[in-house]
Subunit: 178 residues, 2 copies
DNA sequence: GCCGAATAATAAAACCTTTGATTAAATCTG
DNA sequence: CAGATTTAATCAAAGGTTTTATTATTCGGC
């Protein structure tokens, strides 16, 4: 049980440490390093996405998921919904729902695919193209501000470690979206 | 414009590289290292959270956000809604809505705070306590599988780099939830 | 060529999140 | 101490996600 009396009020910064030491007392068999890694990774990504979405995307009338779809269509060119889902890491149902909004806003257009009448071909409208380019420029400046707190070398090592973690996902047979 | 013809079908793994080289052609002034860092960070975290939620939390009747609230209450003890929001990194409105579900499911209870009649004190019910402990054990085993693809040293360095990135958020005046 | 199985997209229901009111209680200020 | 301001929580509207079920097509084996 090990109820820890907090000597000083816990804040967001110290909560990870607190949670880990509390867990050490309550569940001695827990893997604390793994716990710290996942907590920290989630916390950083969360803060980063919130900052980007609220300072870059929403002021321009886009959501973060909407930005991701435009981003994929910008780089991959016109593509089927299924492919956009794969490349963006969203489910097909999520893409379908999201494209309703993007189509209504005139940023993306739907068209029946030529070779398969079940499939839908998505493409950027001219307005969508302008939107993604303008938004990406602001997005990238913000990314630069975040990334700039690390040295070149640190950025490179961080990316390498993250890629290794991502490759490990296959080894542990992580569940992925259908 | 630099329309890149794809020599072979793009997949999720190669999309980051493709997006970066396409951006290099389309927007020469872009910071590609920052772009790669953010794309990779988001991609890994997304995959990790999806795997944890779909393999650990949903089968036990919890959502990922629900798990986070129980996790905070488990470690911090009974606390006001405002505090749970701060410690979990959610907005107060999100906590309020989420607790409706958790309360309905009998995992969390609401009570008016003693010192301030505006405030609500949240605490785990006995069922909530059982739920968080059982779920956390499975959650931690899954974390261990993911983290296990890195060496001890790599895990340590990854956490350090993530913490440095998180500290940088203050320097760049990142927006945070109210 | 035809019929059962697989596949693409969408719909439906349940949940969660965000921003911007609204309500009620506490606190500050003159 | 009264009035204005701030603060805690919740509500409301709009959007996004998930899983499961449906519909329309295409594919595969005989």
């Amino acid at each position: 049980m090990a109820a820890e009396p907090e000597p000083r009020p816990l804040d967001f910064l110290s909560f990870v440490d607190h949670a880990i030491s509390h867990t050490a007392g309550a569940l001695p068999q827990a893997d604390l390093d793994a716990m710290r890694l996942v907590l920290t990774l989630h916390r950083v990504t969360n803060a980063l996405v919130y900052d980007l979405e609220s300072s870059v995307h929403r002021p321009r009338g886009l959501s973060w998921p909407g930005f991701r779809v435009l981003f994929v269509l910008w780089h991959a060119g016109p593509a089927e919904a299924k492919r956009v889902a794969e490349l963006s890491g969203m489910s097909r149902a999520a893409v379908s729902a999201l494209v309703n909004t993007l189509e209504r806003d005139g940023l993306v257009s739907r068209r029946q695919a030529d070779h398969d009448r079940r499939a839908v071909r998505l493409s950027l409208t001219p307005a969508g193209n302008d939107a993604i380019i303008g938004t990406f420029e602001a997005h990238n400046r913000r990314e630069q501000a975040w990334a700039g707190t690390l040295t070149d070398d640190e950025r490179g090592r961080l990316v390498e470690l993250l890629e290794k973690l991502m490759e490990g996902a296959d080894l542990v047979a992580a569940k992925r979206r259908v």
